[in-house]
Amino acid sequence: MRKRGLRFYARMYRKILVQDLKSKMSYRADFVISTFGMIMTNLSGFVTFMILFQNFPTINGWDYHHMLFLYGFSLVALTPVQCFFDNNWNLRFMVQSGDFIKYCFRPVNVFFYFISEVFDVKGLGQLAFGIGTIVYAWIKIGIPVTPLIILKLIVFLLTASLFMIALMNFAAATCFWIKGSGYVMVIMFRFKDFAKYPSSIFEGIFKIIFTFIIPIAFIAYYPSLVILTPDNVPLLSWISPLYGFVFVFLSYKFWMLGVRKYDFTGS
């Protein structure tokens, strides 16, 4: 098979995206309810957060506004996985029913083709929520606004988003080996709720696990420190972009390994 360039894939993504949006538009009620649901989950997250802070004014030395910044940061960092990689949730049904085979017959990258099929519009609501929270916390903490800091923010937000993408790829790909592994994805997705707390709460062996193996600490904590404590940025924050790419690459390899392993369950 001839290697295709980036331009080819970009053009194709656009075409598939348009088709997907068209088909979504035909279910208008679904779109409205899903958007409402997304707002509800974010609101409930805020309510939990508020209740927590009403009872406990600081968590591990972090005050309300710093925590709010971390929260907003995690929301924005989780948007790409929500918007672009949502089809991972359908993987196990496709594999179990045997429909997945259709992706293997096209002369394009299987991972690309599968993932590009769904673009999740409602993730944009979360993005708006996250940006609003970051801006509010930003003003309250009084971080100066310079082009350099904005650039850093964008770079490290993108970095942070890599980790959740990788985690969800890993979780979804388990279904190639383990039948009935749907719960792995559910629980991985719930791990993200802990990204909004400072990872200094972990101790001992679990600090290592949640930093390097299930990198919850990288979804918001380490990347956000670049903005929050500019004088005292740990080394892990600086190497997080590199680690993020490595992690995504590994998850991609794992996913593709699963595809190669895949054989019909029949239906």
Partner: protein
């Protein structure tokens, strides 16, 4: 309907969920990691609060409550909404409707099998781990019996909430949206994500009378001898609340399903 037939449906449900054994182990493991996260978060929270008791809950109270709430959540979790929407899409809903048994009843009993498996495989191990780790902080006595009864009530209430929500898919063709709204509301207002004791006073008064509390908070309170469940009067109050909601929701669910099923349009199948 004779109970033997109902039990055979349950047995089929049990066998179906035991089919994926590796999946169960992975589930247990993932759950354990999740509990570790919960532990560290609340430990940090209590460490920085300066006091040992917040709103009448000590650290170990909160931990036990949240761990068992998670276990109860896994045990009670049903995918009625998802299953129904998939059945509508594939058309196999028609086959279930044609069965010589009421659809609601059939669904309930086939899920029961899954509940039994989950109870034995996730709830009981979690309970034992909690007992060992906390050196027996959970009182063992009659409360266990009351807890089991309350859990059965919770199960039926939960099923009815699901069955009230699932038919909405028939009208809106929206699954993810409906499901996430339901799950968010239930998790927040039932005390599964943050114990109800931490809610602000006014909110707590309202939440106390909603049906969601009957799913997680009441069984757990009874198990831990909290919320006045250590005397007869308090216990009766909690059970009374559960019973009222059980009757109301069952009636409402029945009515709504009977209306909805007339509207079913199934494409192909």
């Amino acid at each position: 309907m004779n109970p033997k037939r109902l039990l055979s449906i349950t047995r089929a449900g049990i066998m179906e969920s035991l089919q994926f054994r590796l999946g169960i182990f992975v589930t247990l493991f993932a759950n354990l990691i999740y509990l570790v996260l919960v532990y560290y978060l609340w430990k940090a929270i209590y460490d920085s609060s300066g006091t040992d008791v917040v709103n009448g809950m000590t650290f170990s109270d909160t931990m036990i409550y949240l761990i068992l709430a998670t276990a109860l959540f896994n045990f009670l979790e049903m995918f009625v909404v998802w299953d129904m929407s998939r059945k509508i899409q594939s058309g196999s809903l028609v086959l279930d409707l044609l069965k010589p048994m009421r659809f609601r009843k059939y669904t309930f009993w086939s899920y029961t099998g899954n509940h039994v498996v989950q109870f034995v495989l996730t709830f009981i191990p979690t309970f034992i781990v909690v007992m060992i780790v906390t050196h027996g902080a959970i009182p063992l006595g009659l409360n266990l019996v009351w807890f089991l009864i309350a859990t059965v009530f919770a199960l039926i209430i939960n099923y009815n909430i699901e069955m009230l929500v699932a038919p909405i898919c028939l009208f809106t063709e929206s699954t993810w949206g409906i499901n996430i709204v339901k799950e968010t509301i239930v998790l927040l207002l039932s005390g599964a994500s943050i114990p109800l004791a931490f809610f602000p006073e006014k909110a707590r008064i309202v939440v106390q009378y909603l049906p969601f509390r009957a799913v997680y908070d009441i069984p757990l309170s009874i198990l831990l001898d909290k919320s006045g469940s250590d005397n007869w009067q308090g216990l009766l109050q909690l059970f009374g609340l559960q019973l009222v909601w059980l009757v109301v929701l069952t009636a409402a669910g029945n009515l709504f399903w009977n209306c909805a099923v007339k509207k079913v349009t199934v494409n192909g199948g």
